[in-house]
């Protein structure tokens, strides 16, 4: 296996005529972990990956693998395994598709059989791809990225179209690849799709970077609040007001702008109000994500 090198994107801008698809994007993807490259459709994810992989020219800035542009990599298939779309000639079998790639990459036919087994396609390897389901195409696309046993994997929407069993499989698969020291970058427009498989996130929206960091840091950004309810809501309301706590009425009780449920409990105790529930309100990762990319409405 080739060593996992970091992916370095710096000041990357890509314009198509008057349309700016990606603007001044800077981030780094480290080896040894799975990084989710997230953003809504049209955010510029695929454009960024295409520039990174030398398929499109950057208007400004650079995107490299440890400082080396993709086009300058020696035998790129052995350093970077990339799949951008699960597109294949429908008349070719999976085995033959991989043989075409292996021939161009200077790899032996034995690798073809190995990666077919690795992604669980060996039983269907001699069927024409035209009859494949989307999930099988995704597996074949993954197989072709693994042919050269590269240290870096760049996968565009690899989970799209997989069935639940397939999703569970690819999660474990990606994690195992990262634990071997590879750099793994996985794009998705759905956080929920990848949140169980990624360690880090790079989130973009409208072509700009909105967040990088660990998955956990997404959660901490949200100011937590407390949800509290009582059989006697009027008494609870006056107890909260006298303790100086701001609140709003929600479906399951009052949502209090106070991260510590203990302080809310104290206020209720002081007012002699019996509580039916008291807990911290944690908005989901998906909410944080939607807030970041500006689809969750104004907050």
């Amino acid at each position: 296996m080739a060593a996992g090198t970091p992916i370095e994107v710096s000041g990357l801008t890509k314009r198509f005529g008057a349309v700016t698809a990606v603007e001044d994007l800077t981030f780094t993807v480290q080896p040894g972990r799975v990084t989710g490259f997230l953003g809504p459709n049209g955010a510029g994810k695929t454009t960024t990956l295409r520039v990174l992989l030398g398929l499109a020219r950057a208007t400004a800035g650079t995107a490299t693998f440890g400082g080396v542009r993709y086009a300058d990599l020696e035998r790129p298939a052995t350093k970077v395994g990339a799949s951008l779309e699960a597109s294949f000639h429908p008349g070719r079998t999976a085995r033959n598709h991989l043989a075409v790639v292996a021939a161009a990459a200077g790899l032996s036919r034995t690798r073809v059989q190995q990666v077919l087994e690795q992604v669980g396609l060996d039983q269907y390897a001699d069927r024409r791809v035209g009859g494949y389901s989307l999930g099988m195409r995704q597996r074949l696309a993954l197989a072709s990225t693994l042919l050269g046993d590269p240290g870096v994997l760049v996968l565009d929407e690899p989970i799209n179209g997989l069935d639940p069993e397939g999703i569970r499989w690819i999660r474990g698969f990606l994690q195992a690849l990262a634990q071997e020291g590879r750099t793994v970058l996985v794009s998705s427009h759905l956080l929920s799709e990848v949140q169980q498989s990624v360690d880090e996130v790079v989130i973009i929206a409208k072509g700009r970077l909105v967040k990088t960091g660990t998955l956990a840091s997404l959660e901490l950004d949200e100011s937590p609040r407390t949800i509290v309810d009582s059989p006697d809501r009027a008494a609870l309301a006056s107890a909260l007001a006298s303790a100086g706590l701001a609140y709003s009425e929600g479906r399951n009780g009052f949502i209090v702008d106070e991260p510590d449920p203990g302080r809310v409990g104290d206020a209720a105790f002081a007012g002699g109000v019996r509580l039916s529930s008291l807990h911290r309100l944690k908005s989901g990762l998906e909410d944080s994500f939607l807030a970041l990319v500006g689809e969750g409405g104004e907050r």
């Binding site: 597109s87 429908p90 790639v101 021939a103 161009a104």
Partner: protein, 272 residues
């Protein structure tokens, strides 16, 4: 480059189009060569049968080369299509992304397609001449006519014909790189080879001035390279035509120029 060539060879052998085109080529050429051979044979031995009255072998010793040259004079559209599809199918099936990921140097990819298609065109040439010579010689020998298979001229014609077929496949690569839309490219190839050029050649042959220009048309250049064609005979053997090597240069130049134009335009664009 060697690896890219190997990959291009794999791309063709792993799809069905090469043998579909080969079968069509064989059928078309064999029917034309064998059919016309039989007709002329009948005409020769029994002129009354077809209403002819003069007792002579039509075309004389031109007959055998004429029949054999059907492989290229009508069969050239098959390597041309194979070469065109080698490029356009990558656009159509969006496999160019994968191709460029493995071989980021796009010039290498186009060069490999060009060279590999020269080989495939030559292979179709061998198959086409096997069919034309097989069917034609069989028809001639049934009527006891000279098959000319013992003359070096015939074998030189076959050799030049195979070269022409190889060049046509390379021209296809050039066309595909200039017109990456598969449907448009096929329509252009079929329309030009089956309608536009035949009509141009026929009309142009009516005047000496236009005939001087028309001899540079790719089909005419191809026939000049091969050295025989039903066109030159249908046009009354007016004698207007290129030397065989000039025809070869016209075809090769056409292939190279088209590929260079395509390589500098569509081939350099962002793949999206």
């Amino acid at each position: 480059m060697i690896r890219a060539l190997g990959s291009e060879f794999q791309k063709v052998i792993t799809t069905r189009i090469w043998w579909v085109l080969a079968i069509l080529l064989v059928a078309y050429v064999a029917v034309m060569s064998g059919g016309l051979g039989a007709m002329f044979g009948l005409l020769t031995t029994d002129p009354e049968a077809l209403g002819g009255s003069e007792q002579q072998v039509p075309l004389g010793d031109q007959l055998a080369p004429l029949l054999y040259s059907f492989a290229s004079s009508i069969g050239y559209v098959f390597p041309l299509l194979l070469g065109t599809l080698a490029v356009t199918s990558e656009f159509r099936h969006r496999t160019l992304t994968q191709t460029f990921l493995v071989t980021p140097n796009r010039g290498t990819v186009l060069g490999a397609k060009f060279v590999s298609q020269l080989g495939w065109g030559a292979a179709l040439g061998v198959v086409g001449f096997l069919a034309a010579v097989g069917a034609g010689a069989a028809a001639l020998s049934i009527w006891g006519l000279d098959t000319a298979l013992d003359t070096s001229d015939t074998w030189a014609l076959i050799g030049r014909g195979i070269l022409a077929m190889a060049l046509w496949a390379a021209i296809g690569v050039g066309i595909g790189s200039v017109v990456p839309n598969q449907v448009a490219a096929i329509v252009i190839v079929i329309a030009f080879t089956q309608f536009v050029e035949p009509i141009l050649r026929l009309v142009a042959s009516l005047s000496d001035v236009t005939a001087q220009v028309a001899k540079f048309l790719p089909g005419a250049a191809s026939d000049a390279l091969v050295g025989a064609s039903f066109y030159t005979i249908a046009a009354g053997g007016s004698g207007v035509g290129l030397d065989w090597w000039q025809g070869g240069i016209v075809l090769a130049a056409l292939a190279v120029v088209l590929a260079l134009i395509g390589g500098a335009t569509t081939w350099r664009r962002d793949v999206t």
